[in-house]
Amino acid sequence: SKHPDPFHTLREVEILDAKIREKLCFLDKVEPHATIAEIKNLFTKTQGKSLKDEDVLQKLPVGTTATLYFRDLGAQISWVTVFLTEYAGPLFIYLLFYFRVPFIYGHKYDFTSSRHTVVHLACICHSFHYVKRLLETLFVHRFSHGTMPLRNIFKNCTYYWGFAAWMAYYINHPLYTPPTYGAQQVKLALAIFVICQLGNFSIHMALRDLRPAGSKTRKIPYPTKNPFTWLFLLVSCPNYTYEVGSWIGFAIMTQCLPVALFSLVGFTQMTIWAKGKHRSYLKEFRDYPPLRMPIIPFLL
């Protein structure tokens, strides 16, 4: 020890895994008056959070011997692949029901067409939505992580493909009942849908422009000249707000309970994501606009 005073000798602290009794961490320059909380902090800094590619060795809070822990994340798959598969499924599946491919409805309905305008409109909207998502995945989005665990693709595809089939079955059913308030309802719903699709796209473009290609810098998103981005004044994740709005529009347009349920489930998931994003914005930026809520202005 370098300190002459024996009562202030720096201590060495060894942390073991309680279950398997293996050494997890060795801290060699711990102040004797350090609290357990501070030791935990040192420990999690060296083991809990995963290191970034850009981290510099000498800036890490380790002793003269740095021990790095390798964690096998398991089979991975690229985000782009997952998104493309997730979105191509519903696009294709909906069309199977729309064209009334054999073995879905009774044989007398095979390849027949619905007599309701709203059914054709719904097909256009649903297909447009997923084509937009596919194109955005290929040309707009900039992903911070390259990959995700392989099991996610099974989980996600079951969700997207399953719900798409469930919704499409009823909307394209020969016994489909058009909306109660007729053309008025459909027009209003269509307006909501289109506005929200444009809004969602505007936000995606704005987020893309925040981060130059190849960089990993993080900035607070702000409204631009595009009026659709003014929602940034009120929420952290307006892309999710617009997405929920689109599906509400689609639900009103089709007056189909499974669509409403899909919107509800999607809303729940997006709220969780929005809250997480909002929290990380607050943690990272001291000057984050206080008026903003995660997903619903003033409410949520």
């Binding site: 942390i15 309680a18 909380a37 935990k40 059913h173 016994l175 489909y176 009942t177 189909c256 309970l257």
Partner: protein
């Protein structure tokens, strides 16, 4: 220095200057909950005991199981619905408890309550008995653990009775659902057909078939989970994990 335990989110740091276990004679309060959680456990123990006594008395007086369900149903429904609280109170994993509680609520409200003709089936007695014995054992285990005076028999019972009781209970539940099927098909209860203005359909009959099928993947998982717990507790470490 005492054993210094602090539950801090992802991990605990324990300094073990002394190897022996820290044994106090005060009721151990869970670090996360308040005293009320412990009271609930004791309450649950007594309510299952009450239910068991009611069932035995009924059988002794009437000599038959017919009408048994009718007489215990109010108590059963009340306490089983109350069991929703268990998901947050009981130290087992949320998923395991959640599955168990939802299947119980499903049986009580969506099957036996709604489908009156099957209330006199023998299979109903089967699962009622299985549930009652399981719960009494489980809650006396929790209660005695709280008082830090757990007789080995209770622990033994909690980790061995289920070996027979789980399959018996599942058999009772499945047989009851199976008995209900013809009635459900005939009356079309809880079902909605096309066309309707919400453009949705639901067939309770097929839903029940799917539910019965779901026992196939779910039951073995619960069963093996309990078997693993049993091996750990009875043949492994003395310390029982708090978080499964």
């Amino acid at each position: 220095l005492d054993i210094n335990e602090r539950d801090g989110g992802k991990g605990k740091l324990e300094s073990r200057k002394f190897q022996k276990e820290n044994r106090t004679h005060l009721p151990r309060l869970s670090s996360r909950g308040s005293l009320s959680k412990e009271l609930y456990k004791i309450l649950f123990f007594f309510r299952w005991l009450v239910l068991a006594i009611a069932m035995v008395r009924f059988y002794m007086e009437k000599g038959t199981h017919r009408g048994l369900y009718k007489s215990v149903q109010k108590t059963l429904k009340f306490f089983q619905t109350f069991a929703l609280l268990e998901v947050r109170i009981v130290p087992t994993s949320v998923l395991v408890t959640g599955v168990q509680v939802s299947s119980r609520i499903f049986m009580v409200w969506l099957i036996t309550h709604s489908i009156k003709p099957i209330q006199n089936e023998e299979s109903v007695v089967l699962f009622l008995v299985a549930w009652t014995v399981t719960e009494i054992t489980r809650y006396s285990f929790y209660t005695f653990s709280l008082l830090d005076h757990l007789p080995y028999f209770i622990k033994w019972a909690r980790y061995n009775f289920f070996i027979i009781l789980y399959p018996v209970g599942v058999a009772g539940e499945l047989l009851t659902i199976y008995a209900a099927l013809p009635y459900v098909k005939k009356t079309g209860m809880f079902s909605i057909r096309l066309p309707n203005k919400y453009n949705v359909s639901f067939d309770y009959y097929y839903f029940l078939l799917i539910t019965m099928a779901s026992y196939i993947p779910l039951f073995p998982q619960l069963y093996f989970h309990m078997l693993r717990q049993r091996r750990k507790v009875l043949h492994g470490e003395v310390i029982v994990e708090k978080d499964d």
